[in-house]
């Protein structure tokens, strides 16, 4: 049902954009597992089949620490992006990562004090908090500015793409067979390209930590 609506919405958007002007087509990718269930937190990134992606100015993005959780869980940035890790909690966090693509740590700080961290190498970065074992965030560093993360519907839209051929890849922190994942090549013309990726995920604990129930301190009063 939602797919139908989405399809309709997409069509509408296409029409709108078509009305607006030519040149801005979208790649709409849907990521599902082998049961057909929508997969959230999947990254879709596309690069032109020929040539390199256009360079862009370095940007900065944010991964928040709220309620002892990283938000968003999965981010994707272009290599050269700085990520800031503001601490919005009233307790300190100690961000760290031992990933090959980026090793860093922001030991025990609060607030926004920490300087943003430069992610300059493409690759997967997994970060955790040294104090809170369940705080996990994934960042995929890519070479292209065209990327998006699927939401609950499993859909990601890559917009503002000039027409041409693109290689579109899917990535998920818990994806099985990451290395073997083949890109889908799509020709983008006037209209949107719709892609569907089917992936299989490893067991959850390999890429996710459940926050314990008593992680948030609650002081219960005896009222009665």
């Amino acid at each position: 049902m939602s797919q139908f609506c989405q399809g309709l919405g997409g069509l509408l958007l296409v029409l709108i954009f078509a009305a607006k002007g030519a040149g801005a087509a979208e790649i709409v990718a849907t990521v599902v597992d082998d049961d057909g269930e929508a997969i959230r937190h999947a990254v879709i990134h596309a690069e032109p089949a020929a040539g390199a992606a256009p360079n862009g100015a370095p940007t900065e993005t944010v991964i928040d620490q709220i309620d002892k959780l990283y938000t968003p869980f999965v981010s994707v940035v272009r290599a050269g992006t700085r990520i800031r890790f503001p601490n919005r909690d009233n307790i300190k966090h100690h961000v760290y990562s031992f990933s090959r693509a980026k090793k860093f740590e922001l030991p025990l700080y609060a607030g926004r004090a920490a300087a943003p961290v430069l992610f300059d190498k493409p690759g997967e970065v997994t970060m955790g908090c040294n104090i809170h074992d369940w705080m996990i965030a994934h960042v995929l560093v890519v070479d292209t500015p065209h990327f998006a993360v699927t939401g609950d519907d499993g859909q990601a839209r890559l917009g503002g793409l000039p027409p041409g051929d693109y290689r579109v890849r899917v990535w998920h922190p818990g994806m099985k067979g990451k290395r073997k994942a083949k890109p889908q090549v799509v020709r983008l013309g006037d209209g949107n390209a719709e892609l569907r990726f089917e992936i299989r995920l490893k067991s959850r604990h390999k890429w996710w930590r459940e926050k314990p129930d008593d992680a948030d301190e609650r002081y219960e009063r005896n009222d009665g």
Binding site: K103, M127, G128, D133, I136, H205, R209
Partner: protein, 642 residues
């Protein structure tokens, strides 16, 4: 076929059966107790082993827990994460060693997420680790939290393993920690559970013993026993090691879900014999008790049985005495039980027998003992029989003269003294005193029993009576009493003998002419002045005696002439006396008065004892001289009155 042995002694039999029963009961009790004890011990040990296996499982679990916790600490250790991230194997190894010494593990390793060994605290461990622990890693990989615990060998040595992921922040490697399962562990476990512990792999082809508290000799037997036994997990069974029985429990060691083929087991054992040792002591005590009980029973049984057998023997002895006629002994058994009853009944019986004997005696006194015996031995018959009997009558003379001066008691006493003597004489010749008629005695010889020489016996008896009379007179003389005389008449004839009288009162006697004749003859003794007169029949039948013919008589009521004789006692008369006497009688009967008179006178002079006889004849001769007898006179004297 005799099931039970014969006993000659009641005592022995009772003792045997009684004690045999006691013994049997003891043996049965003994066996029952033994069996129950063994079963109880086994059940007890089984329970203990079950507990031990739980303790054991818990111990292993606790160790696992400890390992896991230690491992988790490491997996959260930031410095270690950093060391790992550095990918410097030496650093990693030293960090591993550091942690290993902290928790005193035997093996400490790091595996890649693919299961490839990365580093190990001990140098030699890595080589085999990859293959040995592949299953373990897979186990961890498959689990929800990335943790696993198992028992698996490393280079042949079994270890208790835990695997935890190294989180940085997601699993980047497997931290693998192992504790050796060796004899030391088994010993520690034995100290805790007090059972023999063996950890082994009961594989189908080969059983491998990893650790054991059993001595070497028994260790090698164990796999064989397990293979043969067909054991089931957590069910105890008896295994025999040499001479000892061990209650054995096999419990699988939790492998956290490892494949069944590689299940290791712990074999917990406890010696049944050791557990039964106190029961064996009890057994000895029971044996002792049995022996004591038997002895005491023996001692107690003796008097108890004696209380039966002794009285019985006494009664038997008394019975024997009664058999011999001694009714005097009463058996006094003062027991209130059946034996006492028997004794009382016996005494009553003895009294009864004594009374009966008394009756018999009395009967024998009232009736002649031979007659009494005859009466008692046969059915009493009223009928009679004809038989030849020698009848003896005796009479006392001059008794009246005495009787006038005596009191009745004295009189009876004197009479009885006389009669006793005469009866003794009669009975001494097997005669039967028929009756006493006042002071007269009627006796029978040859009835109810014949002796073949009854006439002779009668004559002998008469002679004895004569001698007895002398004694009687001597007694009388001592008392100042006048002498008495006696006359005896004997006849032998066929008479009717039998119990005469009514059914309630009988008299064994004889009737017939011969009886009367004997009585008349007896009366004639007065006439002829001789003590004994026998009839011809008697004289003819009585052998061994010399007789003197006295006369020919015709008694009242009889036509026939009877010759009467007098027995000669001993050599009272010389041989020629009889000749001359007979000649004289012949002369008298031929009416040769002078010759007769002359001979009689001479005889009278020579034999003063026969004075009365010869006087009689001389008197008759004088009479006949004056008044000659009629021509048909046959020389017999007639006595018409009694």
């Amino acid at each position: 076929m005799r099931l039970f042995p014969r006993f000659r002694s009641f005592k022995a039999r009772i003792l045997c059966y009684f004690l045999g029963l006691l013994l049997a009961v003891q043996v049965v009790a003994f066996l029952a107790v033994d069996f129950a004890n063994s079963r109880n011990a086994q059940a007890q040990i089984h329970d203990d082993l079950v507990v031990a296996s739980r303790v054991f499982g818990r111990l292993i679990e606790n160790r696992s827990q400890r390992l896991v916790e230690a491992a988790r600490l490491l997996s959260g250790d930031f410095a270690f994460k950093a060391a790992f991230a550095s990918q410097d194997v030496a650093t990693i190894r030293s960090a591993l060693r550091n942690h290993q010494s902290r928790i005193k593990a035997d093996a400490f390793m790091l595996f890649s997420p693919d299961g490839e060994p990365i580093a190990a605290a001990g140098a030699g461990e890595l080589a085999a680790a990859g293959d040995d622990l592949a299953d373990l890693i897979e186990l961890a990989d498959d689990s929800d939290d990335g943790e696993a615990a198992a028992i698996a060998p490393l280079a042949g040595v079994p270890h208790q393993w835990v695997v935890v992921p190294l989180l940085a922040p997601l699993p980047v490697a497997w931290i693998t920690i192992g504790f050796r399962l060796d004899d030391e562990l088994a010993d520690a476990l034995r100290d805790l559970t007090l059972t023999e512990v063996t950890i082994l792999d009961p594989g189908d082809e080969a059983q491998v013993i990893y650790a054991s508290t059993l001595p070497k000799a028994m260790r090698s037997d164990l796999p064989g026993i397990l293979a043969a036994g067909g054991w089931r997990a957590n069910e105890s069974f008896l295994a025999r090691f040499g001479a000892d029985d061990f209650v054995t429990l096999v419990t699988p060691l939790g492998n956290g879900g490892a494949a069944e083929a590689g299940v290791n087991v712990a074999v917990l054992q406890r010696s049944l014999d050791a557990a039964l040792a106190p029961y064996h002591r009890l057994r000895l005590t029971l044996l002792l008790l049995t022996a004591v009980a038997l002895t005491i029973s023996l001692l107690i049984a003796q008097p108890i049985v004696g209380s039966v057998t002794n009285p019985v023997l006494r009664l038997a002895a008394a019975a024997r005495r009664v058999r011999q006629g001694d009714y005097s002994g009463q058996v006094n058994i003062e027991q209130a039980d059946e034996i006492g009853e028997l004794s009382a009944a016996f005494n009553d019986m003895t009294k009864g027998l004594a009374e009966r004997d008394q009756v018999r005696d009395l009967l024998g006194k009232v009736v002649d003992p031979a007659v009494a015996e005859e009466l008692l031995s046969h059915e009493v018959e009223l009928g009679g029989e004809e038989r030849e009997v020698t009848i003896l009558f005796s009479d006392i003379r001059g008794f009246t003269a005495i009787s006038e001066r005596q009191s009745p008691q004295q009189l009876v006493g004197l009479l009885n003294a006389y009669l006793t003597r005469m009866s003794a004489a009669i009975e001494g010749e097997s005669g039967v005193v028929d009756k006493y008629i006042g002071d007269a005695v009627m006796a029978l010889f040859g009835a109810p029993l014949a002796h073949g020489d009854d006439p002779a016996r009668a004559v002998r008896a008469a002679l004895v009576m004569g001698r007895a009379l002398v004694e009687v007179n001597r007694d009388f003389a001592e008392r100042g009493l006048p002498a008495v005389g006696m006359g005896v008449g004997i006849n032998t004839a066929t008479v009717v003998a039998g119990n005469m009288g009514s059914e309630s009162r009988l008299n064994y006697t004889v009737i017939g002419d011969g009886v009367n004749l004997a009585s008349r003859i007896e009366g004639l003794t007065r006439v002829y002045g001789v003590p004994v007169i026998v009839c011809e029949a008697t004289r003819a039948a009585a052998a061994g005696f010399e007789f003197l013919e006295l006369d020919r008589v015709r008694v009242k009521g009889k036509q026939n002439v009877e010759r009467i004789f007098m027995p000669l006692d001993g050599a009272a008369m010389g041989g020629d006396l009889r000749l001359r006497h007979d000649d004289a009688l012949s002369a008298y009967r031929e009416r040769a008065w002078d010759v007769a008179a002359e001979t009689f006178t001479a005889l009278r002079r020579e034999n003063p004892d026969l004075a009365e006889l010869y006087d009689l004849y001389l008197q008759r001769i004088a009479e006949y001289r004056r008044t000659p007898p009629p021509p048909d006179w046959d020389g017999a004297a007639s006595y018409d009155k009694k």
